[in-house]
């Protein structure tokens, strides 16, 4: 079970603001986390606590394919991202590195900045403890559950290659 405070942003949060390209000369998660969301919200890095949850509107993670974006979010302490929709490369990357994400327009619209939110990733249940509301996201398709259960794509592929 994941629980934390919501950080709420708008539509089209792109990977350039999640982690600006000027910091991509490293792939060290801690270093990337130090600049996470910097061009959109300079206070994010100082305020975020381990377990906190990011909530946003449509097309979250659009733009570049940089895996550094979900890596930076995860290393900054974010435990889950809830959005109305995700850009597809960000969606893949998050699953592949084990950052839970949920597509749930109802939750994305209802949750306010600072709300205390609890998430059950395997069932897709989202509980807003501040407002006393609950929302239901579509759980992942079985195939993606397999990847998540294998702790990311690398272990999944390692398992598959042993079978071949």
């Amino acid at each position: 079970m994941i629980q934390g405070k919501a950080f709420k942003y708008g539509n089209n949060v792109d990977t350039d603001v999640i982690i600006p390209a000027r910091y991509l000369n490293t792939s060290d998660p801690a270093e990337l986390a130090g600049h996470c969301m910097e061009d959109l919200d300079k206070t994010f890095v100082d305020r975020v606590q381990k377990g906190d949850i990011m909530v946003a509107g449509r097309n979250f993670g659009c733009g570049s394919s940089r895996e550094h974006a979900p890596i930076a979010l995860k290393a900054s302490g974010i435990s889950c991202v809830i959005a109305e929709t995700f850009a597809r490369i960000f969606y893949r990357n998050s699953i592949n590195i084990g950052l839970p994400i949920l597509e749930c327009p109802q939750a994305a619209q209802a949750i306010s900045d600072g709300d205390e939110v609890r998430v059950n990733v395997s069932t897709g249940t989202i509980e807003n403890r501040t407002k006393g509301e609950a929302y239901q996201a579509e759980p992942f398709p079985g195939f993606m559950q397999d990847i998540i259960q294998a702790d990311g794509l690398i272990d999944y592929v390692r398992g598959r290659m042993k079978q071949i």
Binding site: N12, D14, D16, V17, P20, A21, R22, L24, N25, T26, S27, D39, L40, R58, N59, C62, G63, S64, S65, R66, E67, H68, I71, T85, A87, R88, I89, R92, N93, N96, I97, P141, F143, G152, L153, I154, V157, R158, R160, M161
Partner: protein
């Protein structure tokens, strides 16, 4: 139910006769691509898999193009890591400085993408090769690592939007204006998770360079891929650049689309995307007075030979505005050489522009043209997000090479029609 081009290519690479939208498949890959930003992460993940080597040494390409020639020690270390990996694994398509180019201009030029291929690249603009009638899409570093090890990638079969093109382009209107017009119409998530399939009789009016530009920016509408029907122009391009076998897939007549959009090419005007999203478009007639500090002509979107020729037509015999830093970067060494032989580089230098070796640098605010606070650039690149080319309070206006070159001369966003009479 009939299938779209993308569905047919994916079915063939998954060993299936038929696929349905939403179906999850495992497809064989014809090429796996990475650059100096994404490959270091992929190398770490590849090592975790424990594979002895890559699945096929001829089907992996690594192009150090983002922070090269290296801008600092950290980026030099990243390049060293991927160079050592490429040599250690015997990767045949590693392109060193001096031979490299911006990956999405280089890969088709080297004949590494042909019609019917399935290609993944750890760079979002990998969708460029759809211009050749291939399925080609951006992925992350972990997908790249898994692809290098196994030669396969999982996909969710996408639905598609069909774009039927009709008529001819007006003078000074190019593929860049067409794709900006389309993104302005459908929005930055207008094709989310879907294919953008381009065809129709208007296709003949679009050069291969126009099509590369358009397929390149499919991602800016959220698309999984952009794909063009294959015609005589495609075949002659492929024959000129590649010895590989190719397979032409046409969409079924009864293929199902979520939406069919008619695009009448003669109606399209030179188009500019204002900050801070590529769908924030206006025609050149609606731009108003926007003064600028910098012009960038190049990138994986618009650094090809036709782009150089168009810029040269506007700049020939003229001088860029004294307050506008104008940077032109041909996308590959071959394009650079061709531009030199055609006298284009001389035109640029005489006009007061700086000519750069191929690099992605300025497009993503990496190096070679970073913007200061409050500065504005007209760029032929693909993204104008907050902070994309430098300071978070700088601004990027996306345009064609013709508009960018005209703007370099006047110091404000300008139609080429105003400059060249």
């Amino acid at each position: 139910m009939g299938m779209t081009m993308t569905q047919k290519i994916l079915a063939a690479h998954a060993g299936l006769k038929q696929v349905e939208p939403g179906q999850l498949i495992m497809a064989d890959l014809d090429l796996v691509l990475g650059n100096d930003v994404t490959t270091p992460v992929a190398v770490k993940e590849f090592e975790k898999i424990g594979a002895e080597g890559v699945f096929d040494k001829s089907k992996v390409a690594i192009v150090p193009d983002h922070f090269t020639p290296n801008k600092d020690i950290k980026s030099a270390e990243q390049c060293r890591l991927i160079r050592e990996f490429a040599y250690d694994k015997g990767i045949e398509n590693y392109f060193e400085i001096g031979q490299m180019g911006i990956e999405h201009a280089l890969i088709p030029e080297k004949g590494l993408a042909v019609p019917g291929d399935v290609i993944v690249g750890a760079d979002s603009h990998t969708c460029t090769y759809g211009a050749l009638g291939a399925f080609s899409t951006g992925v992350g570093s972990t997908d790249m690592a898994a692809g290098m090890a196994s030669g396969q990638c999982w996909f969710k079969v996408p639905e598609a939007i069909r774009f039927n093109l009709t008529g001819q382009l007006q003078p000074w209107v190019s593929g860049k204006d067409v794709i900006l017009h389309i993104i302005g119409m459908i929005g930055v998530d207008g094709a989310l998770y879907q294919s953008m399939e381009f065809g129709g009789e208007g296709l003949a009016a679009l050069s291969m360079d126009d099509r590369f530009t358009m397929a390149n920016m499919a991602i800016e509408a959220g698309a999984k891929n952009g794909i063009f029907e294959v015609d005589d122009q495609t075949i002659s391009y492929v024959r000129e650049h590649s010895a590989r076998e190719y397979k032409v897939y046409q969409p079924d007549e009864d293929a199902w689309y979520t939406r069919v959009v008619d695009v009448n090419l003669p109606e399209i005007r030179p188009t500019v995307a204002f900050p801070h999203l590529p769908d924030n478009t206006r025609t050149i007639d609606e731009v108003g007075e926007v003064s600028i500090d910098q012009v960038v002509i190049g990138s994986c979107t618009n650094g090809r030979i036709e782009d150089m020729r168009t810029a040269a037509r506007v700049l020939k015999g003229r001088r860029v505005h004294p307050k506008v830093r104008t940077i032109i970067f041909p996308a590959t060494q071959r394009i650079y050489l061709q531009a030199m032989r055609e006298g284009l580089l001389e035109i640029f230098v005489e006009a007061g522009a700086a000519v750069s070796t191929p690099t992605c640098g300025p497009c993503l605010g990496g190096h070679m043209g970073v913007l200061a606070k409050g500065e504005r650039a007209v760029a032929t690149t693909n993204r104008n997000f907050v902070g994309r080319m430098g300071h978070p309070e700088s601004e990027v206006y996306l345009a064609s090479p013709a508009v960018a070159a005209a703007s370099a001369i006047t110091g404000r966003i300008t139609s080429p029609e105003e400059v060249v009479k």
